[in-house]
């Protein structure tokens, strides 16, 4: 059977402890989803959460459920790619980096075989008020869909990118906030021809589909081929309801909204609480005119809790992998990279390198900023510092860094690179910084205290401390 979301949810369900299923009705458009997720996060818990009985936008019981928080743990993200969840840190990023270099051609199946075509709503039936759409944050403009969208370039390739689609108190007219370079180029291509641009919103698929779509690939490469690599099997496609085989859609999606962007029309969009935990400013964005809604029976609609743990590994894993592929050829002693939660998995990178040479920290930072312009801070540490342990990184910074000469601040130099991603622009102000927090090696310097490794192996904790006292 092809990989799909409900299969992954079944795996979580069988393991137990990694999925909470909520039977009580919730009203997603009245913060019913995020109020629960926030309390779970505040209590240090990061399970995936399946809301089995949400209401639709009219307050009626919905025929769909909502799944959120699926990405909130790296161990669960590892399972999405069949990586050992016991090694969810840099091993996962390395696996992702390998998958970025491969493609698997998609497989086309007939609509009659496509699960996402089990039910088709068109015309007045295609009414978004029948969906359970979450309003996430206090200042949000309204209920918002947060998953991936797909467009097809006039040059033939497909792009999959996360974007937000806002409910605009209309059954078939929404507004889509596109932030990525490729999707914006595609909108422009169609506008220059004066034609409506086909676009779909994929509201539920195997999580490797969504997480894989974030891979930094070359402009012009086909994302349907790319996500096949992350699924470890061909992505199954089927002709869309609206455009037939001129626009193929993921056959194993839970729910798809097919729509068109009319050329030149812009409407009010945002605020929305974005990944860096700041609201995106109100602005004007393209209209998303709904043409059809297709879904599997009992479809699970996915949602992202942006700005909280659900969104951090999404960006962190894909960027760690991208930087691995970029830096490794230049710095063979590269040890590990991590984008911590404190930077929303987006704004800060901790990079560990073995036997670093003078000047290399600055070079690493410069390369990272060019590859990932949204980065604000790069801290370079030695390989014996665990970049996934922020306390260790900050210890190195406070102890090793020479703040008089080990800190490089860049002003507006890299600013043009951030312009294409305005949702993160409010965080990119005042320059960027690279901090060399490696132990000085060009003069006599102190040594970090260590308990001998041999002693730790000899004095096993379980032999001396009762199990009830272990964490």
């Amino acid at each position: 059977m092809a990989k799909n979301l409900r299969g992954f949810v079944d795996q979580l369900r069988m393991r137990g402890g990694d999925l909470i299923e909520i039977d009580k009705p919730v009203q997603p458009h009245e913060f019913g989803i995020t109020a629960i997720l926030k309390q779970l996060e505040d209590s240090g818990r990061t399970p995936a959460v399946l809301f089995k009985h949400p209401t639709d936008l009219e307050g009626r019981p919905s025929e769909f459920s909502i799944l959120a928080n699926i990405h909130a743990s790296r161990a669960r993200c590892a399972r999405m790619f069949d990586v050992d969840p016991a090694t969810p840190n840099y091993e996962l990023s390395l696996a992702y980096a390998r998958m970025m270099k491969e493609t698997i051609a998609p497989q086309v199946i007939a609509p009659s075989e496509a699960p996402v075509r089990e039910v088709v709503w068109q015309g007045s039936e295609a009414d978004v008020r029948r969906l359970p759409i979450a309003k996430h944050f206090e200042m949000d403009l309204g209920p918002t869909l947060t998953m991936t969208h797909v467009m097809r370039s006039l040059r033939g390739f497909y792009d999959i990118s996360f974007a937000k689609t806002f409910y605009k108190w209309d059954p078939q007219r929404m507004v889509v906030s596109i932030q990525t370079r490729d999707l914006n180029r595609m909108v422009k291509e169609y506008e220059e021809r004066g034609e409506p641009a086909p676009i779909i919103n994929v509201l539920g698929h195997h999580p490797a589909f969504h997480l894989g779509s974030l891979a930094h690939n070359k402009p012009g490469s086909d994302d349907y081929e790319m996500v096949g690599s992350f699924l470890r099997e061909p992505l199954r496609l089927t002709p869309s309801v609206t455009w037939g085989d001129r626009f193929m859609v993921p056959a194993d999606a839970e729910l798809i909204i097919e729509g068109e962007i009319p050329p030149g029309r812009r409407e009010i969009c945002d605020p929305f609480g974005e990944v860096p935990r700041l609201y995106q400013a109100q602005c004007l964005r393209p209209v998303f005119q709904v043409k059809a809604i297709t879904f599997r029976r009992g479809a699970i609609l996915q949602d992202i809790f942006a700005g909280f743990r659900d969104s951090f590994p999404l960006n962190a894993i894909s960027t760690e992998a991208s930087l691995e592929n970029l830096l490794r050829p230049h710095f063979p002693h590269l040890h590990a990279i991590h984008l911590p939660d404190s930077g929303s998995g987006l704004l800060a990178a901790y990079i560990a390198v073995k036997d670093i040479q003078p000047g290399q920290a600055e070079e690493i930072g410069r390369m990272a900023f060019i590859d990932t312009p949204v980065l604000h801070t790069v801290v370079v540490v030695d390989a014996d510092i665990d970049v996934f342990n922020e306390t260790e990184v900050l210890w190195a910074l406070h102890t090793y860094a020479n703040l008089a000469r080990g800190v490089q601040i860049y002003g507006g130099k890299f600013a043009p690179h951030v312009a294409y991603n305005p949702s993160f622009a409010p965080t990119n102000w005042g320059g960027k910084v690279v901090i060399d927090a490696t132990r000085p090696s060009d003069f006599a310097f102190g040594l970090r205290s260590q308990v001998p490794k041999e002693a730790i192996e000899r004095m096993r904790l379980t032999d001396y401390v009762p199990p009830s006292n272990h964490d």
């Binding site: 949000d140 609201y279 400013a281 490089q408 860049y410």
Partner: protein
Amino acid sequence: MERIFWAECCKCHGKFYCSYREMRHIGVKLMCPFCRAEFLPEEAASIDDRWIDERASSQGSG
């Protein structure tokens, strides 16, 4: 960094912010996210569009 401005809704007095480039002086009505009132920036109960000096924020050692 994208320049923004804060607007105070003339009806419910909720405060929210908007893109300066896209919304401040082009005659587009803002929409209050709290009560959905639509109004021009000039009709806002208050506006905060202070801005920093770009040159001061772009000095660095690199």
